[in-house]
């Protein structure tokens, strides 16, 4: 009898003594979410007990919109996906369209694409590692990296006329010949980079506070990461050797000698280190590509697909006809479907296109790596502190524009 009373009292006590959790909306507009991402978290003190991730604040229905665009116009849409490294998106889409059309582009074009992909990988990783420092509270290193990024933008601006929305390349080649000092500009840009990366290492990598903030924060096992569909640096940080540049080489990546950087535990520190070391590898690739840059035409010899030069249009009968055909009827690939993925700085960026033989794609799907990372965010944040949540979100480098397309 007495035991029952005591038991009931204990049960009631524990029921009423349940901790009251604190609701907090981390986002959609929060200084550290870097984009409009929302995490509804339940807090016990500073510890995140439960997290609910919400997306959809930045959805612009790119895939549907693209169904009304011609194959070359879609390039402008891919600009707006991952705006931190927009050239990787442009190149990915042009490769997909070329695969659909069955075009083989000249070696020069392939090498220039490799150079620009790696340049974009470097500038993406510069901002990614720099921002991780900012989120940890160390602002200075970020500006050292931003300066290098700014110098890269000078080259990008010179090549394409724009900084972020580059619309680089066309289906079948580059949009225009390379400017004469291209090689020198790239080599000059590369020159101070190793020193700056080393400086950043001394500032942050071996800093005790930074290591303690990042080590064992939101670790990820290889198996779990594969289940979520991780790719890119976030997967390689777990130790999984998966790099499209090695395993499904495109655009002459097989010509270059580079290492795939791997981590072990998949925590924030490993993701950071993978990115830092990948920059060094990218520098090597660019050096090889620039030094072996072949001569040749800047586009494939496909007059029915690639627009002729303007001066030919006014003087050459055939060029004028092709110009008229491409402008009025567009590029009409054969009926079929294609999937082409590139190792974008953020991971496997895939383009799936279905053609019905018309000038516009029938159906499109963009596989954006961020979407797969962001699925794991709930699991990664739960059990950590708020400060860990910020570091985790920053380290997986989710770009809202790419996540939601």
């Amino acid at each position: 009898m007495l035991k029952q009373v005591i038991d009931r009292a204990i049960a009631e006590h524990f029921q009423t003594d349940e901790k009251e959790l604190y609701d907090l909306n981390l986002g959609p507009s929060h200084p550290a979410t870097h984009g409009i991402l929302e995490n509804r978290v339940k807090l016990d003190g500073e510890r995140i007990v439960k997290c609910e991730a919400h997306i959809g604040y930045c959805h612009r229905s790119f895939e549907k919109l693209s169904e009304h665009y011609s194959y070359n116009q879609v390039i402008t849409i891919t600009d707006r996906m991952n705006y931190v490294s927009s050239m990787a998106n442009n190149i990915g889409w042009t490769l997909a369209a070329e695969k659909l059309l069955g075009i083989e582009v000249p070696k020069l074009v392939q090498y220039v694409r490799v150079i620009m992909l790696e340049l974009n990988r470097i500038i993406d990783h510069l901002i990614r590692t720099g921002i991780l420092g900012v989120d940890a509270g160390a602002y200075t290193g970020f500006l050292y990296f931003m300066e290098q990024r700014e110098r890269a933008y000078k080259i990008i601006e010179r090549m394409t006329g724009a900084r972020l929305t580059t619309t680089f390349g066309r289906v079948g080649g580059l949009d225009k010949p390379l400017y004469p000092e291209f090689k020198e500009d790239i080599l000059e840009w590369l020159k101070p980079l190793p020193k700056v990366i080393k400086e950043f290492h001394t500032l942050l990598t071996r800093n005790r506070i930074f290591i303690e903030r990042t080590r064992d924060v939101s670790p990820m096992t290889e198996a779990r990461a594969l289940e979520y569909g991780f790719t890119g640096p976030n997967l390689r940080a777990t130790g999984c050797n998966y790099d499209l540049r090695k395993h499904e080489p495109y655009s002459s990546y097989e010509d270059f000698d580079f290492k795939v950087i791997l981590g072990t535990t998949g925590d924030v520190y490993d993701r950071y280190m993978v990115c830092m070391d990948e920059m060094v590898e990218s520098i090597k690739i660019i050096e090889q590509a620039v030094n072996n840059l072949p001569d040749g035409p800047y586009h494939a010899d496909v007059p029915e697909i690639f627009l002729p030069e303007k001066k030919d249009v006014y003087s050459n009968m055939e060029a004028m006809i092709y110009h008229f055909k491409i402008i009025m009827h567009g590029i009409n690939p054969p009926v079929g479907e294609v999937y082409q993925a590139v190792e974008s700085p953020n991971g496997e960026l895939g383009f799936y296109a279905v053609s019905d033989g018309g000038p516009n794609p029938y159906r499109l799907h963009f596989r954006s790596p961020c979407l797969y990372y962001y699925q794991a965010i709930e699991e990664m944040l739960e059990g950590g502190l708020i400060a860990d949540a910020i570091m985790t979100m920053s380290s997986i480098n989710v770009i809202a524009g790419e996540l939601e397309r």
């Binding site: 929060h30 602002y139 200075t140 942050l204 303690e212 903030r213 708020i386």
Partner: protein, 350 residues
């Protein structure tokens, strides 16, 4: 009556003089911080208002007054307005006991460049220093904002934890100097440079330095206002001059904390190897005043240097450092210092 009148005139003159100098230095510390940040980050810093951006301070002040006074709906209005003033005052009160300079003789009257040489100066500093947290936690609570509340809570737990470590470092210092009066501590450090407490209390100095950073909530201990985590912490909802007071109060705190480091561990206004002249005139007074500020400015530079170099701690790491490292180290420091004094029969043994 004449004596009292002269006393009032003397203290008000010193007070106004010190206050004006302090406010000027604090105002220019905000500019200095941005210039130094620019120096570290390969950029210019403010350089538009006046030559080298010297009028930036004025521009900032004008801007703070011109901005809209925004009070959040359902905030506790009274506490919301009191909080920043409280923080500012608590920081400013520290000024009262800091010895800014030596005594000097003006017109046959001995004038001390210190507002009040009370015999419990250090206790006063510990007491007033702890008051600052009330302004922050009140502001965080009164804003009726979740991020503000978290900032306030972080701040209160941080300040309370590090005050203990700071107190322990000071206890060892008091054992050595045998006085709570800041002037006595400075006088004990005159003479050769190795008389400075930093050479006799290296561990105590490190503990005090770290605790001071935490007390002034500067990087790496700026958790109460970590902009990447909790937006702007306790002053998320503050705008216009109310925010200005918070910011200004923080700089006053930093300036006086630097002054305190200089006073307690680096000989305050004293000049190594130079003794006070028999008839210290106004020149001597101003010289010691300048020496005090030179040392203080150096520590302010250290504060800024650290801010633009280090990342910040996480909440649990901060607590671990305070409770598991600094406090045991502080206790050990007292123990060792007491043993040494027992052996040598130091000042505290009289």
């Amino acid at each position: 009556m004449n004596e009292i009148g002269a006393f009032i005139i003397e203290k008000s003159a010193v007070g106004v003089f010190v206050f004006i100098v302090l406010l000027t230095i604090v105002a220019y510390a905000t500019l200095g911080e941005r210039k130094i940040a620019g120096f570290f980050q390969d950029r210019h810093g403010p350089n538009r208002a006046g030559p080298w951006g010297l009028l930036q301070v004025v521009a900032d002040g004008v801007k703070f007054f011109m901005k809209e006074e925004f009070n959040p709906d359902r905030a506790n209005k009274v506490l919301f307005i009191i909080a920043p003033t409280f923080t500012f005052m608590a920081a400013g009160f520290l000024m009262a006991v800091i010895p800014f300079g030596d005594r000097m003789i003006i017109g046959g009257r001995e004038v001390l460049l210190q507002l009040a040489d009370i015999n419990i100066g250090i206790l006063y500093i510990l007491a007033i220093g702890s008051l600052g947290v009330y302004g922050i936690i009140t502001g965080g609570w009164a804003s009726n904002n979740k991020y503000s509340l978290m900032g306030g809570l972080r701040s209160s737990s941080q300040m309370i934890s590090y005050e203990i470590a700071m107190g322990l470092a000071i206890v060892a210092l008091i054992l050595d100097h045998g006085s709570f009066s800041l002037r006595d501590i400075v006088l004990n450090q005159t003479g050769p440079i190795w008389n400075w407490s930093v050479f006799t209390h290296p561990i105590g100095f490190l503990i005090f330095l770290v605790a001071t950073f935490a007390e002034a909530s500067r990087v790496p201990f700026d958790l109460p206002e970590a902009e990447n985590e909790i937006v702007a912490g306790y002053h998320t909802e503050y705008s216009a001059m109310k925010f200005g007071l918070f910011m200004f109060g923080e700089y006053v705190h930093m300036t006086l904390a630097s002054g305190l480091i200089a006073t307690l561990y680096f000989g305050g206004w004293s000049i190594p190897f130079v003794a006070t002249p028999a008839e210290p005139g106004i020149f001597w007074g101003l010289l010691t005043f300048g020496v005090f500020w030179a040392k203080t400015l150096f520590f302010m530079f250290v504060f800024m240097w650290v801010r633009w170099t280090l990342p910040r701690f996480r909440y649990d790491q901060l607590m671990n450092l305070g409770w598991k490292r600094l406090i045991p180290l502080g206790l050990l420091n007292i123990f060792v210092m007491a043993l040494i004094l027992l052996w040598t029969g130091g000042a505290g043994m009289d």
